[in-house]
Structure formats: C-alpha cells, structure tokens
C-alpha cells in the first residue's frame, strides 16, 4: 500500500473518548459532601469527634492498603473508597468511643466486609454499616454512651440519651429546631440534618446520586410516622435517617441500579426503620434496615431489569 509516515499507532476499540468522571472523582465528591457534617460534629461534640474521624479514615486506608498487599492485589487506596468508608463509619459512632474500638470497626468494614469479598464493587453489604453493627453488638455500653452536645453538658453530666432514647422511654424530646441543626445527643455525624441535607443537595447537583433513594426512604419514614399518629418531623430528623438515607443507602455497590429498584429499596429502608423503632427492642433501626435491604438488592435488581425498547411488557423473554 501507500508509503507510511507513522506506523505502530495505538489501535483500540471505539469509543476513543471517555467522560472525565471516574471513580476517584465520585468518591472525592462524596467526601466533599460530608464536610458540612464534619464541621457540625466539631461544633456539637468538640475536637474529640474530629480526631475519631481522622483515626477511622487512617485505619481504613491502612487496612485497605495492607490487605491488598497481603492478598497480592494492586493497591486501590487512590480510588478514595476507603476514605469514604472511614468517614462514614466514624459518623456512626458516639463521639466518646475509645479509639481501639473504632479501629476494630474499621477492620471489620475494610478487611472482612470489603476486601475478603473481592474489594470495591464486590461487597454485598455496606462496609460502614456492618462495622457499626458489629461494634454496636460487641460493645453495647460504649456504643450507646452518647456524649451530649457541649452546650448541654453540665459539671456532672457529659453524657445522656439520644432523642430516640428519650422517645422510646416516653420522655420529652428536643425541639425540632435543635434536631434540624444538630444540637442533640447521638452519633457524631448523624446529628445535624441541615449539614447532611447540604451534602445531599451537593451530590444531587453533581449527579453523583439520584434523589430517588433518599426521597423514598425519608418520605416513607415521614408517612409511616404520620399514619402512626407520631410527629413525622421528629422521626425524619432523629437518629440516622438523614445520614443513612443520603449517604449510606445510596452506596452504588449495595443498592439497585434501576429507578424502579431504587424506589423499592428506599421504601423498604423506610419501612424497616420505622418498624424497628416502634416495635423492636432497639430505639434505632436505620443500620439494620439498610443492611437488610442491601441483602435484598441482587433480587431487586433481578426483578427490575430494564425492558428493551420496542418490546411490549410481557412479550420479553
């Protein structure tokens, strides 16, 4: 054929351009979205909460790197997913939890739930949720010793019950304004609905998540409370609903792909949360609700497969 000036060019299958969005950028956006809640945990609980978060992030990254090395797999800490898991796990812990306990939680999350199942994308349940649940069951007392907001601490009382704890005992609960802003007892990152909502809006604007799961989750909790004759605003701001609905239930790996699947998933999370809150012996049920729905995700995905264009429903084999 003709003369060749440049040969040996790179030959690959089309397409030859890709979108600038990659996994690390998505995870970075999640970290950015978690910053308002980070600020609020420091405002509400002081510097101890920030150190707890830092310990969890460091532990998760080190566990991830070490496990990959031992298993002889390429290092993946640059995808930032371990950082996200560390932040989320710390947000699910009381501010005063001993660091060594938090590190055990990180070990469970990263090594057992994530890496032993094949790493990012292969875990069938949310690592941070399982880390929290294992700690919750193993160390019941420290995991339910809630540091009070600094403003509410007195000389002889620096810990106290969460709003849901008060609710379960039939006692007076904090005002909805305090609950919205976050000046209540609870896990470090879950207290401020406002901060979490800011993060959620950021993720939706950046198209990292779709609003489907949070809206269905929070909406179901709201409606359930309303129907049960309770204060629905209290129930959506209390406990881990905001953190769970916006950041934990929307984890790509463990939630359904299609919109229909996401609706089922969100409603399921909301229902289970309220059933546990009202009828089970635990005051809070967000973690268990998300865990159970994570397990159902493959089945939801299978039942909500997309239909091929142009093939009427039912005619599809």
């Amino acid at each position: 054929m003709s003369n060749i000036k440049h040969g040996n060019l790179i030959v690959s299958s089309a397409p030859h351009v890709v979108s600038p969005v990659n996994t690390s950028k998505i995870m970075l956006d999640v970290c950015i979205a978690l910053i308002p809640a980070l600020i609020m945990e420091v405002v509400v609980f002081g510097i101890r909460a920030l150190i707890l978060t830092a310990v969890c992030v460091a532990a998760c990254v080190i566990f991830e790197s070490a496990t990959r090395k031992i298993l002889g797999r390429p290092d993946t800490i640059s995808d930032l997913s371990a950082v996200v898991t560390g932040i989320l796990l710390s947000y699910n812990l009381p501010a005063g939890l001993p660091f060594w306990m938090a590190i055990i939680g990180c070990f469970v999350s990263i090594v057992i739930v994530k890496q032993l199942f094949g790493g990012l994308g292969q875990n069938f349940v949310n690592p941070a949720i399982v880390g929290r649940i294992v700690l919750f069951i193993s160390f019941a007392t420290p995991m339910t010793t809630w540091v009070l907001p600094k403003a509410q601490q007195t000389a002889d009382a620096i810990t106290g019950p969460t709003p849901l704890g008060l609710f379960a005992k039939g006692m007076d609960v904090p005002s909805n304004t305090d609950m919205f802003l976050g000046f209540i007892g609870g896990c470090t990152g879950e207290v401020s609905a406002l901060a979490l909502l800011i993060g959620g809006v950021y993720l939706i604007i950046k198209k990292v998540i779709e609003p489907t799961i949070p809206v269905c989750f929070i909406g179901t909790v709201f409606v359930f409370a309303l129907v049960a004759g309770l204060d629905p605003v209290f129930h959506i701001f209390a406990g881990g609903v905001m953190l769970g609905a916006i950041f934990m239930a929307t984890d790509y790996v463990t939630s359904p792909i299609t919109t229909k699947g996401k609706i089922i998933f969100g409603i399921g999370c909301g229902l289970l949360t309220m059933i546990i809150r009202l009828y089970a012996s635990y005051p809070e049920g967000v973690s268990f609700a998300i865990l159970l729905m994570n397990i159902l995700t493959p089945h939801i995905d299978n039942l909500t497969r997309t239909k091929l264009n142009g093939i009427p429903a039912g005619g599809d084999k």
């Binding site: 440049h6 040969g7 060019l9 790179i10 030959v11 890709v18 969005v21 792909i257 497969r305 142009g310």
Partner: protein, 437 residues
C-alpha cells in the same frame, strides 16, 4: 421538531466541532491512489482492469455479479500500476488497485446522465452510481432501496444528524448542497413510491435546519425533524425512533417498520449521478485532531492515502499516536497512516498520546451510569458480568444482540471498563453458540 414526546437515552459529549463552518476544499489529485475492492458490506468486487491499463475518472474498475455488491469506479485518470494485496482501512486483507495519476482527470466516456423512467431503471442507476451508505455502514444502497416488502415502506429518512464529535462535513455538505439533497429526496420518493421524507438534523446545526425548512416549506411530503443535541441521534435505530416513534429491534431492517434511512451525502451523490452520470468517486471528509496543523473539510478522490491528506492539511504538528477513521465514538483506530480513503469515510482524526492513552480499568462500582446512558435500554453492567462468566443464556436474557456499538456505556463508565467492546465480544460469543434467537 421530533415527533416523540419521550426520547431515547443518550449522552452529552463535547461537540469539538472545530471545523464548523469551514467550506469543503477540493484536494489536488495525489500522485497515487489505492482503491480497495471491498468498500461495502457484501461480496468484494473483482478488478475489471489490469496492470498497464489506462483509466479515466468514473470508469468501472471493479465489480461483481453477486447481488450484495456495488461497483467501484476509478477516482482519477492515470495508469493502473499494480494490484496490491494488503490490509485495507477496514482491517480486511484484499486487493487494492494502485493507479498512478496523470493529473489530467479526464472523464470516462461512460459518464453520461442515466435514463430513469421507472423503479427498475432507478435501482439500476443507484447501483451504477456505486452508492453505499455513506454514514459509515457502507450497505449497498440499491439493496436498501429495494426492500422485500415495498408495499409496507412509506417513509424515507435522511440522516443529517452528524452526532459524532469533531465531524462537520455533513453539516457543510447540507449547507452547500441543500437544493440537490432535496431534489435527490424527491427522486427517491417518486421512484420508490414513498409517501414522505423526513430530514433529521441535530439541533446543534440551526443554520442547516433553517435552510431545509425554507426549501421544503412548499413540499407537503418533505419535513425537517430537529433532533436532540445528544449522542447518538444519528444511530439508525435512534433516528428512526426520534423521527417516527417506531422502535426497530435487533435483527430487523428499517424496511420492517416501513422506513428507508439514507445519509444526506448518499442522497446528494445519487442526485449528482442522476444529473451528471458521475458515480461515487470522491468523498468529503473532516480532517481534525490535535496533531493536525490545519484542520479542514476536504474533498478527496477515493483511494487517497491518509498521509497525503494530512500533508495537504499542513502535516503533523506532533507525533501521532492514534489515527481514527470516523468519529471518536464509533470510528476505527488505524494501525498506520498509509491506509486509504474508502467510500464510507467521513473523517480522519489524528491525535497525540495525551488523547490516545487508555486509562486502566478499575472495579465496577455498580453505579448504573451505563444503564442510564444506553439508548437501547440495555444493562451493560449485567452484560459484562454475564460475559465474564461466558453465560450465553444470561447474555440473551440481557438482550446483548440489541447492542448497536454506539459506545455510550464505555464513555460514561467511571471505572473505565471497555463495556462497548465487551458487548461486541459477547455478541460474537452468542453468535458462535448458535445464532440469534
């Protein structure tokens, strides 16, 4: 406007239409051309000339009696100096005819306007013009215009979407030859006895849309459909849906839903053949990419080596690492710049290594971006997992055969998975395991 209220999914890719508005310049005849004997889907042509023959522009130099074949004409005048066996730009190893040009561009005596009074003569003229689908698929046009079910076919769709980034040559062709394109559409409507023609143009070409709207305002059976500014509006199945609301499923032909689709350039070349008798011997294309000195729209004789075209555009400004024939979404990466232009080409894009490097794949995070992007509503993430397990039943369940290789899934994948490529491999696997269901 598009006739459907619910659009098919797609993606937004940077248009990069750097050559927009650049008139099509005619490139001087190169020293040598290499015209491959297979430039279409179907049977390859057999050379009808021998080494030493003198050929003129428009003279048939390759043909075959097989029905699925379009004749190939000389694009230059000169002497046949060799029959070269080698790999063409399509990756097919076949004969190419090397013609050393004499620069005179004498026109063959056979180039006279055809007599067309009925459908048979019209189809014969389409074949004689050497026409194939110029959007890229290169399906012989005379076969396409002669469907098995002529009574059910009533609509001609002209594809002026040009949804690939970088390419602007169809846009310029539409602006420069709008009248001829409309005349070509009218001839097709008349001879194939169709009811209506729809010209589909992507919304990022408002001047072309305005021009055609003006031209067809007194033509009751020709309309313009403004398409979404979204890739891949020009993919045949997407275009048919957007223009008519009909879904074309895998394994069916457009004629099965009553439609014939032709690229605007195909219709233009047909009209030029009907008017002058000059068959398809030259092709306009966009030359662009970050190592091309002067990106341009050029008209070149078929068979022109790519290196000559790049040199006509000022040469390279850096070391090319990837050269594409076609657009960046569906174009073919060439192994070297010695390959030659064939009928179905509409762009040559040359890039350096910043563009050419492929990022390593990471783990699928189940984000669902590919599902949200797929115009066919497939689940590429499920398909690639089934493919990794070589699970043919699951691949069929996920309708892998409906993939049209548009590349949207690979484009959006944050894990840089080669989803579209895996779909191609999965399709071959399903075909190998017992054919389409």
């Amino acid at each position: 406007m598009s006739s459907v209220s619910k659009h098919l999914k797609g993606i937004h890719v940077d248009h990069c239409k750097n050559t927009a508005g650049q008139p099509i310049v005619k490139m001087p005849v190169p020293e040598k051309v290499y015209i491959p004997m297979v430039q279409h889907i179907g049977a390859p042509c057999q050379p009808t000339v021998a080494v030493g023959d003198h050929v003129k522009v428009g003279q048939v130099i390759g043909d075959n009696t097989a029905p699925m074949c379009a004749p190939i004409h000389s694009s230059v005048s000169g002497e046949v100096t060799a029959l070269v066996k080698g790999m063409t730009a399509q990756g097919i190893v076949d004969t190419s005819i090397e013609i050393t040009t004499d620069g005179k561009q004498e026109i063959a005596e056979t180039v006279v306007p055809p007599t067309v009074n009925n459908k048979e003569e019209f189809l014969a003229a389409v074949r004689a013009a050497g026409l194939v689908g110029l959007g890229g698929a290169a399906f012989p046009t005379h076969i396409k215009y002669n469907p098995r079910n002529p009574e059910e076919v009533d609509t001609l769709i002209l594809n002026g979407a040009e949804c690939e980034p970088y390419i602007t040559v169809d846009h310029m062709t539409m602006l420069e030859h709008a009248e001829e394109i409309v005349a070509g559409a009218k001839s097709i409507l008349k001879h194939l006895n169709l009811k209506q023609a729809i010209i589909g143009i992507e919304g990022n070409k408002p001047d072309a849309i305005a021009k055609f709207n003006e031209l067809v305002k007194n033509e009751p059976n020709i309309s313009v459909c403004e398409l979404l500014q979204q890739y891949p509006q020009g993919a045949e199945r997407v275009l048919i849906y957007e223009c008519t609301g009909k879904h074309l499923i895998a394994g069916k032909l457009p004629a099965d839903v009553g439609v014939i689709v032709s690229n605007v350039t195909t219709v233009l070349k047909l009209q030029q053949f009907l008017a002058t008798g000059m068959p398809l011997v030259s092709k306009s294309l966009t030359v662009d990419g970050n190592v091309v000195k002067e990106p341009k729209n050029v008209e070149v004789p078929i068979g022109t080596p790519i290196i000559d075209i790049i040199e006509f555009c000022g040469g390279y400004t850096g070391e090319p690492k990837k050269i594409l024939m076609g657009g960046p979404m569906m174009g073919r990466a060439l192994p070297d710049d010695g390959k030659c232009i064939i009928k179905g080409n509409n762009a040559i894009l040359a890039f350096d290594e910043t563009f050419a490097n492929i990022n390593p794949e990471t783990a699928c995070i189940n984000c669902g971006r590919c599902v949200k992007a797929c115009p066919m509503n497939l689940m590429p993430t499920a398909i690639f997992k089934a493919f990794e397990h070589k699970d043919v039943d699951a691949l069929k369940k996920y309708h892998v055969m409906s993939c049209m290789d548009c590349g949207c899934c690979t484009y959006v994948c944050p894990a840089r998975k080669q989803l579209s490529f895996m779909n191609k491999l999965a399709k071959s696997l399903v075909l190998a395991e017992g054919g389409k269901k």
